[in-house]
Amino acid sequence: MTYIGRADDGSNDVVIDEHFVGWSTVSRTHALIERDGELFVVVDLDSENGVYVNGQRTGENVLYDGCTVSFGQVHFLFQMNQEGDVR
């Protein structure tokens, strides 16, 4: 499980800090991404400004390769890599 949020107190695995444009729209603990079988699933943790997949707000959502996932107004490209290389 990977927690994503603004809080830099060790509770998040991915901290969205002031280096990210729009970081103020991210809640302290905003969302998590976890494995469910073969799938990666993003879960909104009742954040103020929501989780979006390809621009549509969602609650729990499968992340497919190449989709855009946004936490508030901070956008990420989600990529899967079969070779197991971390880019």
Binding site: V15, V53, R57, F78, G84
Partner: protein, 595 residues
């Protein structure tokens, strides 16, 4: 190599975040892509995922520039999971201010590619409905239509159908409802139903062929009868609410359906029945309907309400009858195979068979008349073959004299009562055999199965344990009931059909030709359809070759003669402990030009 300032783990050159603790390794520039491993310790060959921040000015094209504030009720994106991750949205079918529709897959079940069943669990190895092996096949989940709303009222009628559990093959079925809260404070109501696939009736050119319209009408009337029997009326029978998938018609759109608190009187359902009749009539508009079909609409839409169909069930019954008449071939010929064999254990063949046919083709119209008989004689001192031969001779004489000769002499004016004629012929046969047995002080007798076939109408009788089957690609069905002890025991549930095959008293029969001065004769009437077969046989065949096997042989052989030869061969292979006699008749429709 970069050492993480927080946890001291080693990271590759250029890494922006620590692989182990996820902390930033160096302040990232907002425009440069940075990576974050979601799985810090990946197992070999398992997928690894990364999140790559998108710079502010460089979003994927489908991301709107302004995401906030989000509307309270917007459609969810593909991949969204609902009902504890059971349903995954595949696509958005429709969206509106109050109601969204999605195609979803049900991750709790798997779809069988062979039989279409959606009842198997993903970890099952075989389809529970058809037995197909799923080994090595990735689970394909069944797809459904999922409707979503914040306002319960909008889906109240459909929810009622789901709550009552009403499902019918003539309906686009509604399966269940549930509540979920994908995000935000307000829960949404969801309704799962079959995908609303198929053509609408509105798109069809008119007029449509009668056979199709009657088939759809029958299915829809049966669906209505089902709803009405559960005290529910549809109230919205219109072309746009009918879906055609293959040759099936299904009723959809239940948003006006209603169920009164108490059982409603018949009249309360009349509007559905009339609306269906009107809809079917409109599909046929522009052509002259056949008299049977015209009679149905005259009744369904009679000026006086009292004269109309009282129930959807009554309409369904009449549509079914009309369809059967329509599907009966008008211009037919019989293709016959026959074979009688002593078998491997007996020295004598006591079975007899008869085929007697007249087929005249006049003005390219053919309505043949045929008499087909199998008789299995019994009694010591060579009496069996005498009895079976006498029986078929007596039958032949009666049918020739009372039916075939008058037909040729054009003496027969009205359509004769074929059933009564066959009965008379059997009584005649019984009288002859009984007389001979009495005089010779013999225990001779015979079984008998006879079919008098006139065009596509078959009149069938049996005495004893010789059988008639109706066979087609879908089924094999015994038309007759054996007058045997084991058949009684099976009928009363004392032994199984399987046990009957090996029962020590399986040869005991309680009704034979010649045993008593009078014999009871049951007549069965079958309206044959094109590509139906009739199979008449003695117990030397059906006692040794299973019904399903008979069906397989008959329907795969090119000619009935080939089928008879093969069936006799199989019975001999299985022991051939009795005489084996079989007649196979195939009804073939002939075109008015082909003859």
């Amino acid at each position: 190599m970069i050492i993480c300032p927080s946890c001291k783990a080693q990271n590759r050159d250029g890494a922006r975040f620590c692989l182990t603790c996820g902390k930033a390794l160096a302040p990232p520039s907002p425009t440069a892509p940075v990576a974050q491993a979601l799985e810090t310790k990946p197992l070999p060959r398992e997928p690894i995922a990364v999140l790559e921040p998108l710079p502010a000015g460089q979003r994927a094209s489908d991301v709107p520039t302004k995401l906030l504030p989000s509307p309270e009720f917007a459609p969810l994106p593909p991949g969204a999971l609902l009902e504890k991750r059971r349903y995954e949205i595949v696509s958005v079918i429709n969206k509106s201010a109050k109601l969204n529709a999605y195609q979803v897959r049900d991750r709790h079940y798997r779809h069988c590619p062979k039989c279409g069943s959606a009842a198997s669990k993903p970890d099952q190895e075989f389809c529970g409905d058809c037995g197909l092996s799923f080994a090595g096949q990735p689970a394909e989940h069944p797809n459904y239509l999922l409707r979503e709303t914040l306002d319960r009222e909008i889906l109240a009628q459909e929810a009622l159908i789901a709550e009552l559990g009403l499902q019918h093959e003539g309906m686009v079925n509604i399966h269940r409802t549930f509540e979920d809260r994908p995000y935000g404070p307000r829960p949404r109501l969801y309704l799962v139903s079959d995908l609303d696939e198929g053509t609408g009736l509105t798109a069809l050119p008119r007029p449509q062929p009668e056979e199709k319209v009657l088939t759809w009408g029958k299915q829809l009337a049966q669906a209505l009868a089902y709803l009405h029997s559960h005290n529910v009326r549809h109230r919205n029978i219109r072309p746009e609410n009918i879906r055609l998938v293959d040759s099936r018609a299904r009723l959809t759109n239940f948003n006006l359906a209603e169920k009164p608190p108490r059982a409603a009187p018949k009249e309360w359902f009349a509007e559905d029945v009339e609306a269906l009749a009107r809809l079917l009539q409109a599909l046929l508009a522009g052509q002259t309907p056949s008299p049977t079909v015209a009679a149905i609409f005259d009744k369904a839409l009679a000026p006086n309400k009292k004269d109309r169909y009282a129930t959807a069930e009554a309409l369904a019954a009449d549509l079914t009858k009309a369809l059967e008449v329509l599907q009966r071939p008008a211009n037919v010929t019989f293709i016959i195979g026959r074979r009688s064999d002593t078998g491997r254990q007996r020295e004598l063949n006591e079975d007899s068979l008869l085929t007697l046919e007249i087929e005249r083709v006049q003005q390219s119209k053919s309505k043949p008349v045929g008499l087909y008989v199998v008789a299995d004689g019994m009694g010591g001192h060579s009496a069996g073959e005498v009895a079976s031969a006498m029986a078929i001779d007596a039958l032949a004489r009666t049918v020739l004299a009372k039916l075939m000769l008058p037909t040729l002499e054009k003496a027969a004016q009205a359509e004769p009562d074929y059933g009564a004629l066959l009965k008379e012929a059997c009584s005649e046969a019984n009288r002859a055999v009984h007389e001979r047995a009495r005089k010779a002080r013999s225990d001779m007798g015979t079984t008998l199965v006879a079919a008098l076939v006139v065009g596509s109408e078959a009149y069938i009788t049996n005495i004893g344990d010789s059988r008639a089957y109706r066979v087609n690609q879908r089924e094999i069905r015994p038309i007759t009931t054996d007058h045997s002890l084991v058949e009684r025991l099976v009928a009363t549930g004392q032994i199984t059909r399987e046990e009957a095959r090996t029962h020590p008293q399986r040869n005991v029969i309680y009704r034979t030709v010649g045993d008593k001065p009078q014999v009871e004769v049951d007549i069965f009437h079958e309206g044959l359809k094109r590509d139906d077969w009739l199979v008449l046989c003695s117990d030397g065949l059906h006692g040794l070759v299973e019904d399903a096997h008979i069906q397989q042989i008959v329907t795969t052989c090119l000619h009935p003669q080939e089928a008879c030869d093969e069936l006799v061969r199989l019975a001999n292979e299985a022991g051939g402990d009795d005489n084996i006699t079989v007649i196979a008749l195939k009804l073939k429709e002939v075109g008015s030009t082909g003859g």
